[in-house]
């Protein structure tokens, strides 16, 4: 059973009291318990089961503008005393940094907990196995599916308390259910793999096993017997599971830490036309049951809804207390990063998007990290399908795609098929003028 609030609060209080006693002027502490249970299967047989029960405390103490942190999984009282002592001693010898402080009290979250982030449903392992086995059974309906790379189901529950010496003490339970199925297809000496994946706060919101299995099979079969193509400048459509990565890169480039240090291609671009006029980007923390929803960030600061990009113009940054001070801005509750980040839908349907040019490469897998947030250069390995006149013609693989975000962001066209599948979500997008490296 997941640890209850009172247990976590007691440890948090011990840490705060003891820090103060030993001479710290401020302190903040997180006490967290998470339990996860996973089953993995392969070829419809149980491959493994795993149960993990994690306890952790992280304490940050301040003496004036000096700061140090400790964390531990050993919550034995004697050990806690030892760690608090070590933390305060480390604080004393760490140099001052004028920007170190707890967040302003008036930014603390004080509202209700109405977002429905916790589903009590518990599936015993046999139920988990049945669920994911059924997905594999659907995947194996096609004779081109010859193997699985493993499929799995996991149930995660966690509870935490965040407290600080300015009187903040709050926390809540969350749950996450995840299922994935990864299969191997084979035909004419070609072997490929692909997957479907679903993750939700509530068990009942997961994709059904039939959809998971059939999608995984379809994706893996579509990749069989790929061709290499010649290097050329060409437009690319990014499948939703890839297009969301551009938002992740964008978020990295507008984090207040990158802005404050100048290590981003979007420095000094506030109120500039960073995307073309059709683009709006939102980061919204209060979506009911949202995978990325939260009430407050890791400092206890309330999470504002942000309109980061409006009509293509950069309007806001992702700000925490420390880096906010460096750029003279108040925290907007992003010390834990983005919440539910998404492009608002575009105008075109998916069908119209794939017909919008004569020849397009549809990319549904990229490998390699490939984004340089300082220069905006982007270059990754990719595979996908060649589209001609709106028809999917043949799979392509072992290509590279490259461009620079400064131009790519101006050349995006969005479809209108946004779904909230992950915490960062994008509709299908088309980007013109990219360079494909091939033969």
């Amino acid at each position: 059973m997941i640890k209850e609030e009172n247990y976590l609060k007691k440890i948090a209080e011990t840490c705060l009291t003891q820090s103060k006693k030993l001479g710290s002027s401020d302190a903040s502490v997180v006490v967290m318990n998470s339990i996860s249970e996973n089953v993995n299967i392969r070829n419809k047989q149980l491959d493994g089961s795993e149960r993990s029960d994690n306890l952790a405390v992280t304490l940050t103490t301040y003496i004036g503008k000096k700061k140090a942190s400790i964390s531990s999984s050993n919550l034995n009282e004697k050990n806690i005393y030892k760690l608090v002592n070590r933390c305060v001693e480390a604080t004393k010898i760490t140099p001052e940094d004028e920007h170190n402080s707890l967040p302003e009290k008036e930014l603390h979250y004080m509202g209700d907990k109405e977002l429905e982030l916790y589903d009590e449903t518990h599936l015993d392992n046999e139920k988990k196995i049945d669920f994911i086995k059924e997905a594999e059974e659907y995947a194996f309906e096609s004779d081109k599916i010859v193997n699985t790379n493993g499929s799995g189901f996991s149930e995660n529950k966690s509870n935490f308390i965040l407290a600080n010496s300015n009187g903040f003490m709050d926390g809540y339970k969350t749950s996450q259910f995840t299922a994935y199925c990864e299969v191997v297809s084979k035909s004419n000496g070609s072997m490929e793999r692909d997957y479907e994946y679903t993750t939700k706060r509530f068990f009942s919101d997961l994709l059904k096993p039939e959809t998971i299995g059939r999608n995984a099979a379809k994706y893996a079969i579509n990749k069989l017997n790929p061709k290499k193509i010649k290097s050329e400048k060409i437009s690319i459509i990014f499948d939703k599971r890839i297009s969301k990565n551009f938002l992740t890169n964008f978020a990295g480039a507008i984090s207040s830490s990158a802005i404050a240090k100048g290590t981003t291609f979007l420095k000094d671009k506030i109120n500039n036309q960073v995307f073309n006029k059709s683009i709006n980007i939102i980061d919204r923390g209060n979506i009911i049951k949202g995978n990325g929803s939260r009430y407050f960030d890791s400092e206890g600061v309330k999470v504002d809804n942000l309109e980061l990009v409006k009509d293509g113009v950069l309007k806001d940054y992702l700000i925490d207390s420390y880096n906010g001070k460096k750029i003279n801005r108040k925290s907007n509750g992003r010390s834990s990063g983005t919440t539910n980040l998404y492009f608002e839908n575009g105008e075109l349907s998916f069908e119209d998007l794939i017909k919008s040019e004569k020849k397009i490469i549809y990319v549904n897998e990229t490998i390699g990290r490939g984004a340089n947030l300082i220069t905006g250069d982007y270059s990754v390995g990719a595979s996908g399908t060649m589209i001609e006149n709106g028809e999917f013609i043949y799979p392509v693989s072992e290509i590279t795609i490259a461009g620079n975000f400064n131009e790519m962001f101006q050349n995006i066209t969005l479809a209108n098929d946004l779904e909230f599948k992950y915490s960062t979500n994008s509709p299908t997008i088309l980007i013109t003028g990219m360079t494909v490296g091939g033969k």
């Binding site: 942190s69 760490t94 793999r193 990754v380 091939g438």
Partner: protein, 470 residues
């Protein structure tokens, strides 16, 4: 004597009874105990940005029968907690029957000392040297706009208690020291990153102003990239420099030779043992026994002594890397490659120090032989798709080669290829084998473990280079 039951209400004999009783009908399994302390100190933007100390104590209890692994882990080393885990394992494996193999060879081999990198130097002295590094790096040139430097030190104590009472132990120090420098000139920004590390004291990397060499190298890479031009795109010849570029061997070939992917037949190499998979002269080993290297281990995380495993010998595929489970199912022996990130993770076959051995050619001859191609000196991240064999790398330092001569530095070059094909397209193997500086972390199924790589210069006949210039 075990160190884990000293402060616990449960003694080792009681723990051993629970382990033996739980595993009596299983093929394998153990109680893995781990106590880690680590320290990360970061200097960023002229300030000590963070000083974090952390301790992590816990166990992972594993039972294996047939192909099935049941695993339960917890932070609480108590009788109640172990009994809970035991019941959890038994319920996952009910109706299964195996035969426990008691035999693990004991070893006295030691490839690193008893150093404790977290305690051996005071926090104050580490902070002082980071500040010194910052001043030195910034004084190198007015183009230096940002400096980040960090120390990451760890001491991990591991004990493995097997059914029947065998107790295997290891104490593992690990340090890493990293410098990143951003330069700006005429509105153009570039970064250079360099790091060093291994299973030994920080002193080796800090004494005699050795840290200056790390700053100098980060600065050199950043400055080189200031003059870079867009990389060409298309298929061409590639010369790889010695040392760290062997991460390409790790991704392109290494992962495909791990036992699990081959037992499950999802690796392109699974039916190729004894066959020619690489050019003549290509020999690749995975060695866990190198002195003080990042990827070295006295015993692996199942207790098996590590060894030097020959993977490919003169082009012929010889062995896969095995943990106990995959070895048993493939009727062979563990090669001491069973590793896990921590007690929170299950064991898998993982690489240690993966190295291509020397050939006879020189780098000079390789470059001279290329009309049009690229010379890749260092890589950032890489990734591989085991099933199709495709891999990708981002170059952090690369140059064009024109008519046998090294030309301008290139930016944004990505290499993409197919592991099995690239091995056969190696035209020349150099005589300048170098190990990497000790910075590699390999990710697999969400677990990161420290690894090493090494290789001489290589000439590859054709690989696809991804850039923006056609």
């Amino acid at each position: 004597m075990s160190n884990f039951f000293k402060n616990s209400e449960i003694d080792i004999s009681k723990a051993e009874k629970i382990v033996s009783e739980t595993l009596k009908n299983c093929d394998d399994g153990e109680l893995y105990l781990e106590d880690t302390k680590s320290e990360v100190i970061v200097l960023d933007d002229n300030k000590i940005k963070s000083s974090d100390y952390s301790t992590d104590l816990g166990y992972g209890f594993r039972a294996v029968t047939g192909e099935i692994i049941a695993y339960s882990h917890s932070n609480e080393i108590s009788e109640k907690s172990l009994v809970n885990s035991s019941q959890n394992l038994k319920s996952s494996l009910k109706n299964k029957k195996g035969t426990y193999n008691y035999e693990i060879k004991n070893t006295n081999q030691k490839f690193y000392g008893d150093t404790d990198p977290v305690e051996e130097k005071s926090l104050k002295s580490k902070i002082d040297i980071l500040n010194e590094i910052n001043s030195y790096a910034r004084s190198k040139d007015s183009s230096v706009k940002q400096v980040t430097a960090n120390f990451i030190g760890e001491k991990k104590n591991v004990e493995i208690l097997r059914a029947g009472g065998q107790l295997l132990k290891d104490e593992r120090p690990l340090v890493r020291f990293n410098v990143s420098i951003m330069v700006e000139k005429n509105g153009k920004k570039e970064t250079g990153v360099y790091g060093v590390g291994g299973r030994q004291s920080y002193d080796v990397y800090l004494n005699d102003d050795n840290w200056k060499k790390v700053c100098d190298e980060a600065f050199r890479i950043a400055t080189t990239n200031l003059d870079s031009k867009p990389s060409p795109a298309g298929e061409m010849k590639v010369v790889l420099g010695p040392g760290w570029p062997a991460i390409l061997i790790h991704e392109a070939v290494g992962h495909g030779l791990e036992g699990d992917f081959n037992r499950k037949k999802t690796s392109v190499f699974h039916n190729l043992v004894g066959q020619k998979v690489a050019s003549d002269g290509v020999t690749i080993i995975d060695d866990g026994t190198l002195d003080k290297r990042r990827g070295s281990l006295n015993i692996d995380d199942e207790g098996t002594p590590t060894e030097k495993t020959v993977l490919i010998e003169n082009g012929i595929l010889k062995n896969f890397m095995q943990d106990r489970l995959n070895a048993r199912l493939m009727n062979t022996k563990s090669t001491g490659n069973g590793r896990r990130e921590s007690y929170k993770h299950i064991v898998m076959p993982r690489m240690r120090n993966t190295i291509m051995l020397n050939g006879n050619e020189t780098q000079e001859e390789m470059i001279k032989s290329v009309d049009k191609g690229i010379f890749a000196v260092s890589f950032g991240g890489g990734q591989v798709d085991i099933t199709s064999g495709k891999f990708v790398f981002n170059c952090t330092e690369a140059y064009e080669i024109n008519n046998g001569k090294i030309g301008s530095p290139l930016k944004g070059a990505t290499l993409i290829g197919d592991g099995p094909s690239s091995l056969k397209e190696i035209l020349m193997v150099g005589n300048d084998m170098k190990l990497d500086p000790g910075i590699g972390t390999c990710g697999k199924a969400g677990q990161g473990v420290p690894v090493g790589v090494g290789q001489p210069s290589l000439l590859i006949d054709k690989m696809t280079v991804g850039g923006t210039k056609i």
